[in-house]
Structures are given as structure tokens and as C-alpha cells.
């Protein structure tokens, strides 16, 4: 009896604990600013997936409540008590078994129909007037090419609000997966194949994303930002990217020396900045991100560092500590070289 009571209490306490956990998690998931949440979509792709998810979610909750309630009921009701009679040895009931074969089947129909409808709507096909952007996954950063505008950039993906966009994606090395939860689901990005995501973003903002397919040592550091700009701002951004940058401004002495350091041929040869990076009019490397308008980005190194003098300095000093395995090598640079390089890089607006 005493033991029974203790268990009763234990179970109630456990129930309370699980309740708190559930409530806590739900509250946590609803409020607050979650830049990478799947629960707060801001594009048509995301809305469709989200509403499908919610449909399935509520069915799952219903089934969960029914089954777990039955389980609790059985445990409480049929628990052995002193003097409880020996049970009747029933071996089955065809009627009941047919019933609970059909019941889940019916529920599944209610899930399957919207599922298939949504599948047909999120194939990645886009209308004629969509802005097509080529996305290339690299270990461990994202490259974007706007063929229509002749613009190549990295990490920050700018799109105009309200305009259908299609991402045409492939990989330069291993398999990655492009995922910006707020615009919708992910899609894998594979070498030798082209995959598509189509969406129309409907609210201005900066949304977080991240590679979702394990792609090697620094997989955790392969992040990105989706910048949804008002159409006018987007046009301004495009014009800024199209202009040749460094030549347009007169460089001060430091930046001028930085430009020379950038263009210098180093030993070993693959330590020369221009072997890997492109800066329009100066360098044509293609292994690393195009730096022509580096300073106009919000972050560097696959979205893990802000774009500022301090972060650039740290990055040039020691990229491999910041991003283990990165293809950007530790280059023997003097502190003076680093500060002039940073001064130069900051002029690349």
C-alpha cells in the first residue's frame, strides 16, 4: 500500500515534470526572436510547408493523447491489487483488430492528401519572371552568382522582396544542403547535379541559414544570411556590386600598401592572395570567395565572423583556428602586412 502510494506520487511528479518540459519548450518556441526558426516562415515555400506541418502535428497530438491516455488508463485500472481475480484468457477479436487497422489508415489519408498536394507545389519550379541565382556550395562557404547582373558574391544572399526567386544549386566539392528555414525547407546541393529551390520572400529582413548536410570538418561553420531587401534597395545593391570598387576610390597610403601586399606573389605560390581570390581588375583566383565587394557584406568566413576590421585581422592572422580545416591557409604575414591588408580590404565596398 505504502509502496503503491509512493509510486502514485512518483508518477504524478513525473507527469508534472514532463508537463513543465512541454510547456517550457512550447513557450520557448513561440516567443522570442528565432532567426533560424522553421516555425516562423516568411515566404510562400515556407508557408506551405508550415501549414502542412501544422496539420500533421495536430493529428499526431490527437493520436498521442488517445494512445497515451489508453495506456495510462490500462495501467491504473488493471494494475494488480490484492485479491484481483485472474483475468479471462482472451486470445483476440477479429472485429477489434480490423477496426484498429482501419483507423490509422483513415488518419493517414488525411495526412497523405495534403502531403502530396504540397509536394507538387514545392518542387523548385519557378515562374518565367523569377530571378535566377546560381548557388555553389564550397567547403565551407556559399557562393552566389547573379548571371543576369554579372555579380558574384558570397555568404550574404540578397533578394528583392515580393519577387519570385529561383536558386539553381550545385556543389564544387562534397554534398551540402541549402537551408534558410524561414523561407522554407532545405534542398541538397550536390556535385554533378543541379537542384532547385523557388520562393517569393514577402517580408524585408535578414534571415539566418546554414548548411544542413554534414560536409566535413567545419560543417558547423557553413552559415549564410538571406537579405530580403525592398526592391529599390535591391537595385541599389546590384548597381553597387556591378561597379568596379577599389579603383573608384582613391586609396590612402596604408590601403595602397595593402593592395600591393594582396597582389604580391608569395612562396609557396598557393599563399598568394590572388591565387585564390578574385578582386575585379586585380586578381582572378576562384578557390575562395570573390572579394570585389567584400566590405559590403555583413559577415565573412561563411557567416561566422562579422565584417569589420577586428574580425578581418583575426581571420588573416589565424584562419585555421577560427575555422578548422579551412582551405584558406595560415599565411606568414607580418602584423604590418595584416593591418595594411585590412585597410585595403575595407575599401572594397
Amino acid at each position: 500500500m505504502d509502496i503503491t502510494l509512493r509510486h502514485e506520487r512518483g508518477r504524478r511528479r513525473l507527469g508534472a515534470l514532463l508537463g513543465v518540459m512541454l510547456a517550457g519548450s512550447v513557450v520557448a518556441a513561440c516567443g522570442g526572436d528565432y532567426p533560424q526558426s522553421t516555425l516562423h516562415p516568411t515566404a510562400d515555400f515556407g508557408y506551405q510547408v508550415d501549414s502542412l506541418f501544422r496539420t500533421i502535428f495536430w493529428w499526431a497530438v490527437a493520436v498521442f493523447v488517445i494512445v497515451e491516455t489508453m495506456l495510462m488508463y490500462v495501467i491504473v485500472k488493471y494494475r494488480e491489487r490484492p485479491g484481483s481475480p485472474d483475468p479471462r484468457r482472451i486470445h483476440g477479436s477479429t472485429l477489434l483488430e480490423v477496426a484498429w487497422t482501419l483507423a490509422p489508415a483513415v488518419v493517414l489519408v488525411f495526412i497523405a492528401v495534403p502531403t502530396i498536394r504540397t509536394i507538387m507545389n514545392v518542387t523548385g519550379d519557378a515562374p518565367e519572371d523569377a530571378l535566377v541565382i546560381d548557388v555553389v556550395g564550397h567547403q565551407w562557404w556559399w557562393e552566389y552568382r547573379y548571371q543576369d547582373f554579372g555579380v558574384t558574391t558570397a555568404t550574404d544572399l540578397h533578394v528583392p522582396q515580393g519577387q519570385p526567386v529561383q536558386l539553381r544549386m550545385t556543389s564544387a566539392d562534397v554534398i551540402h544542403s541549402f537551408w534558410v528555414p524561414k523561407i522554407g525547407g532545405k534542398r541538397d546541393v550536390m556535385p554533378g547535379r543541379t537542384t532547385f529551390i523557388a520562393f517569393t520572400p514577402d517580408s524585408v529582413g535578414a534571415y539566418y541559414g546554414q548548411c544542413a548536410e554534414f560536409c566535413g570538418e567545419s560543417h558547423a561553420h557553413m552559415r549564410l544570411r538571406l537579405m530580403v531587401d525592398p526592391p529599390d534597395d535591391f537595385d541599389t545593391w546590384v548597381r553597387g556590386q556591378q561597379a568596379a570598387p577599389s579603383e573608384a576610390v582613391t586609396l590612402d597610403a596604408d590601403a595602397q600598401r595593402g593592395r600591393e601586399a594582396f597582389a604580391a606573389v608569395r612562396t609557396p605560390g598557393n599563399h598568394s592572395c590572388l591565387a585564390c581570390h578574385a578582386v575585379e581588375g586585380l586578381a582572378f583566383g576562384a578557390l575562395g570567395p570573390n572579394l570585389t565587394h567584400l566590405a559590403s557584406r555583413s559577415s565573412i568566413a561563411g557567416g561566422i565572423l562579422p565584417m569589420d576590421a577586428d574580425a578581418l585581422t583575426r581571420w588573416l592572422r589565424d584562419p585555421l583556428t577560427i575555422k578548422p580545416g579551412s582551405l584558406m591557409p595560415d599565411i606568414d604575414l607580418t602584423e604590418d602586412e595584416i593591418s595594411t591588408l585590412v585597410a585595403y580590404l575595407l575599401t572594397l565596398r
Binding site: F53, P87, I90
Partner: protein, 600 residues
């Protein structure tokens, strides 16, 4: 467990070890499987705790990125191939022959061979840690990240060779158990009288012998790519990275059932025993197991909804996957109906079975969410999936296996486990698992991908990750309680007797632990629940009538297994001498084994 056979005036240590190395007794091999798998389970658990410690807060740097990748790869690989599968195998070995009224498995020496190959494969894979080169490509090892270009070290070689060795062990054991269950049933033990655990073993082994060849093909391609420069997965040479995914998941989804069906079988034994009622709808439970095994072959691409297979394939694989929920749901309802109107005794084995049902429902429902291809575009490769697999594999498979451990422990050792400690174990593990895995649903929905060694505070998932870490450590604590219970059981030696639970099946009609010949006389089975049946079974005599001849031990299975290991080391070091040496040992071992005089 290994020392269970210890008696006070035991023979010398050397000869005892030798007797374990040469044993062909299914019960001792079962114990070897159990102990080894449990050690690997602890190792995989330790890896999980380091992982959770690293993820307890954002931007932590307890471990390096590469070591983290090794940890999660080995955690997954270990738990699947070195813990859950062989823990189930421990019960196949120990219990199935007893349940069907046999004196051993069909091929006792092949059985020993399976164990030794499994052990050496597991050791080889884990030896990689000593070289700082543990596998680091994830347990599903996607091409082309596993190519020499992107993974030049030995890490992936350890993985490829280790898995191939484990595959040999699994396939050999699979064939052995198929033959055993089909051919060695006692008179009257018709197929539809087989205990459900034996049925699920049969189904599982059928999946093993059909699914493992598929991953073997995938691994051989990969090994050839890495060692001999073939180009099966090389895009530049016209290969296709998706080939790997299709092959891997064609194996990988059936593998899920290899992991869960045995646990379902155990739960199907425990629930009737502790409800004092026969299983409700025996035939439907059996057929639904078969149906799951068959449907399980038509759903693999649900792991690939994000690769862009096109809407038709996505819709088809969504639908087939949803179909599987039906036989699974049927099982759950049948278990509930078994308990309905019963007399439930909430002993530890039953608690774990109830825990199994409660948690498997959660994992099953998140599984239905993934089955919806479009919705899965958000969930796949996020922590939502990590929550799902852990509800299925910890909440399901592991809880089911613990249910089996508590249930059959008295049969296997002759001693009871302590109920208080058992209940403590259960509740700690139950609370721990929910605390560890429930928040992961939300962590995933809030956008945290899986397999990342660090995350940014801006995601807003710090608190939930911390909660999850606390839960993981509670699970660790619960496992310690279990170990204490084992120690306690060995110290207190509370006699179990033949049938401490009043259970129905054949294994409870003989002493605990059973003598090496199991049954003094082969029983004549007259019903599905011989111990509960109204038509009395002919009593099994307490003393054998004449001398019972059992096959003697043999060291050739172990020698052959060593040959395979050396062969693999040769491949690892790319040393022809080693490889040839291993091949010679293997051939000599099998030859000597085949021509060994059959001791009677």
C-alpha cells in the same frame, strides 16, 4: 555476466578463458555477445556524454571539430552495429533455442565464428581512436565526402573495413538462426506456436541476410574507390554520389527494423506474462511483423527527400512510408488490448515494456511527420530527426532490450535482480530520456542542424540544449544503477528457480540457468503457451534418461575470425604480406574447422 559460470572451486583461470574461447554452447555465446555489446554500449554512451557536454552551451570548445565528428560517427556506428544489434543477438543466442525446444543452434561452430568476427570487427573499428583516426564521416558515411580526396586519412578505412567485418558476422549469424528456427523446432512447435520473440527473431534474420549484402556492395565499391582508384562515386569520372545514398538506405531502412523488431518481440513476451493474459491477436502481431519487414524494403528514399528526386518519387515514398505506420499501430493496439482486463504486475521488466510503448508512440508519430516529404524538407538533417531516432532507438529498442534483460536475467544467471534498483533504473532512464530527447524536437524546429560541433547563441537554443545535456547525464546515471544491480544480483544470489514470473513459454520449464544440453528430453509441444495451457504438456524429466551428447568446443572458429582481422589490417595498411597472411590463416582455419572430427 561472463563470470556467471564461476563456481567456488572453479578450474584455473587459463583453462576457464580457454573454455570461453572454444565454446560452441549457444548460451555461453549469448553471454559473450551480451557482455561485449554492453561494454560497447557503455563506450557509445560515453561518446554521447562528451557530445552532450560539448553542446551544453553555444560556442563551446571542449573538443575540436574533428574529434567531435569522430565522436558522433562512432556514437552512431557503435550504438547501431556494436550495441543494439549484438545485444539483441545475445537474446537470439540464449533464448531462441530454449523457446523452440532445441539443444543448440543449427551450426554451433558457425555461431562461435559470428561472435569472434563481431568482437574483432568492433575492436578494429575502435582501435582507430588510438591512432587519432576514428571514423569521421558520419554513420551513414555519404559519398563523396568519404573519398580519398576529401577524407585522406585512415579514418574512413577503419570504418569501411570494420563494417564489412561486422557484416560477415551478421550474415553468418542470420543464416544460422533462420536454419535453427525453421529446422530445430521441437515436435509440435508449429510455426504459429512459436513465441513472438522467436518469430521476430526469424523476421529480423530474414532482413539481415537480405539487407547486409546491399551495404556490403556499397562498402566494397567505396573500398575499391579508396584503395584501387575505381570511380563508383567519383563525379569527375562520371560516377554518382547518389548511388551511395540509394544503396546505403536500401540497407539502412531495413536496418531500422533489425534494431526494433527484436525489442518488439521481447515486449510481446513480457506484456502477456505480467498481465497474466495471452497476447491479444497473436497472429496479427506476427503478420504485422512480417508486413513491416516486407514494406520496409519499399521506403528507403524517405531518407533522401531533400535530394530533389522529383515530385513523383517523393509522393510514392511518402505514401509507402505512411503505410508502415499501420502494422506498427496495430502492434501497439494489440499490446494495449493484451493488458486490458489483465492483472498487471508492475515489476521492472514490465515497467520497461510500458516505457517502450509510451516512448515508441512518440518516435512513431515523429516518424509519420518525416514521412511527409514536403514537411520533411524542414525536418531532415535537423535535431528534429535526432529526437526521432532517439525516441525510437533509446525509448524503443534500448528500453525493450532492458525489459528483456530484466525478464530473462533470472533464467540466464539463476539469480534475481533487485526490484528497487530496477525501478530506480527505469525511472531515472525514463526521465533522463525525455529530458534529453524531447527538447531536441524544438531545437530542430528552431533551426539547429544535426552533426554540428558548435552553434551560435543567436539561434536561441542554449537553454534547451542544456536541458538535453542534463537529461543525457541522467541516462548515464541510470545505467550506473543497472550496473550496481548486476553487482547486487551476483552478491545476494537470490535464487530465481525455474519460473520466477509464472511465464508461459518453454524456456521457463527448465532450470535456471539451463544445463548445457537445455532439455533432458526434447519436449513435445501441444500448445502455444505450454506453461499456461490446459492441455498439459508431457512433463520434462528432471534427470536425463541417458547420456546426452553435445558437440565439443573448437578453437577453429576463433582462428578463422583472427584470419579475417589480419586480412583487414592488411587492407588498412595496404600491406600485401599482412593480407596474404590473414587469408592463409582464414583458409587454414575454415579447412581445419570443416575437417575437425565431430566429437560426440
Amino acid at each position: 555476466m561472463a563470470t556467471a559460470a564461476l563456481t567456488v572451486d572453479a578450474p584455473g583461470f587459463g583453462s576457464r578463458v580457454w573454455s570461453w574461447i572454444t565454446t560452441t554452447d549457444h548460451k555461453r555465446i549469448g553471454i559473450l555477445y551480451g557482455v561485449t555489446a554492453f561494454v560497447f554500449f557503455l563506450l557509445g554512451g560515453l561518446e554521447a556524454l562528451v557530445i552532450r557536454a560539448q553542446l551544453a552551451q553555444s560556442s563551446a570548445d571542449l573538443v575540436s571539430a574533428d574529434f567531435y565528428n569522430q565522436l558522433f560517427t562512432m556514437h552512431g556506428t557503435t550504438m547501431v552495429f556494436l550495441a543494439i544489434m549484438p545485444l539483441s543477438a545475445a537474446f537470439f543466442n540464449y533464448i531462441v533455442p530454449l523457446q523452440i525446444g532445441a539443444r543448440d543452434v543449427a551450426f554451433p561452430r558457425l555461431n562461435a565464428f559470428s561472435y569472434w568476427v563481431f568482437l574483432l570487427g568492433g575492436l578494429l573499428m575502435n582501435a582507430s581512436f588510438f591512432f587519432g583516426a576514428a571514423p569521421n564521416g558520419g554513420w551513414f558515411g555519404y559519398a563523396n565526402l568519404t573519398s580519398t580526396q576529401y577524407s585522406p586519412g585512415l579514418n574512413i578505412d577503419f570504418w569501411v573495413l570494420g563494417l564489412q567485418i561486422l557484416g560477415v558476422a551478421s550474415i553468418a549469424a542470420g543464416i544460422n538462426f533462420l536454419v535453427t528456427i525453421i529446422n530445430l523446432r521441437a515436435p509440435g512447435m508449429r510455426m504459429m506456436r512459436l513465441p513472438v520473440f522467436t518469430w521476430m527473431t526469424l523476421v529480423t534474420q530474414f532482413i539481415v541476410v537480405t539487407a547486409f549484402p546491399v551495404i556490403t556492395v556499397a562498402l566494397v565499391f567505396l573500398m575499391f574507390d579508396r584503395t584501387f582508384g575505381t570511380t563508383f562515386y567519383s563525379v569527375a569520372a562520371g560516377g554518382d554520389v547518389l548511388l551511395w545514398q540509394h544503396l546505403f538506405w536500401l540497407f539502412g531502412h531495413p536496418e531500422v527494423y533489425i534494431l526494433i523488431l527484436p525489442a518488439m518481440g521481447m515486449v510481446s513476451e513480457v506484456i502477456p506474462t505480467f498481465s497474466r493474459k495471452p497476447l491479444f491477436g497473436y497472429a496479427v502481431i506476427v503478420y504485422s511483423g512480417l508486413l513491416i519487414a516486407i514494406l520496409g524494403w519499399g521506403v528507403w528514399a524517405h531518407h533522401m527527400f531533400a535530394v530533389g528526386m522529383g515530385p513523383v518519387a517523393d509522393a510514392v515514398f511518402s505514401s509507402t512510408t505512411m503505410l508502415i505506420a499501420i502494422p506498427t499501430g496495430v502492434k501497439i493496439f494489440n499490446w494495449l488490448a493484451t493488458m486490458w482486463g489483465g492483472k498487471l504486475s508492475l515489476k521492472t521488466p514490465m515497467l520497461f515494456s510500458l516505457g517502450f510503448i509510451a516512448m515508441f508512440v512518440v518516435g512513431g508519430l515523429s516518424g509519420v511527420m518525416h514521412s511527409s516529404a514536403a514537411a520533411d524538407l524542414q525536418q531532415t538533417d535537423s535535431y528534429f530527426v535526432v529526437a526521432h531516432i532517439h525516441y525510437v532507438l533509446y525509448g524503443g529498442a534500448i528500453q525493450g532490450i532492458f525489459s528483456g534483460i530484466y525478464y530473462w536475467w533470472p533464467k540466464m544467471t539463476g539469480w534475481m535482480l533487485n526490484e528497487r534498483l530496477g525501478k530506480t533504473h527505469f525511472w531515472l532512464s525514463f526521465i533522463g530520456l525525455n529530458l534529453a530527447f524531447f527538447p531536441m524536437h524544438f531545437i530542430g524546429l528552431l533551426g539547429m542542424p544535426r552533426r554540428i560541433y558548435t552553434y551560435d547563441a543567436v539561434l536561441g537554443v542554449d537553454a534547451m540544449n542544456f536541458m538535453s545535456t542534463v537529461g543525457a547525464f541522467i541516462i548515464g546515471l541510470s545505467t550506473i544503477v543497472f550496473v550496481v544491480n548486476v553487482w547486487y544480483s551476483r552478491r545476494e544470489r537470490i535464487e530465481a528457480g525455474m519460473d520466477p514470473w509464472g511465464a508461459a513459454t518453454l524456456e521457463w520449464s527448465i532450470p535456471s540457468p539451463p544445463p548445457n544440453y537445455n532439455f533432458t528430453a526434447i519436449p513435445e509441444v501441444v500448445s502455444r503457451l505450454p506453461q499456461w495451457s490446459d492441455t498439459e504438456m508431457k512433463a520434462i524429466p528432471t534427470e536425463p534418461e541417458g547420456e546426452i551428447h553435445m558437440p565439443g568446443g573448437s578453437y577453429w572458429p576463433a582462428v578463422s575470425a583472427v584470419g579475417i582481422l589480419v586480412l583487414a589490417v592488411g587492407a588498412l595498411l595496404e600491406s600485401l604480406a599482412f593480407a596474404l597472411g590473414g587469408a592463409v590463416v582464414l583458409v587454414v582455419g575454415i579447412y581445419a574447422w570443416a575437417f575437425e572430427p565431430f566429437e560426440m
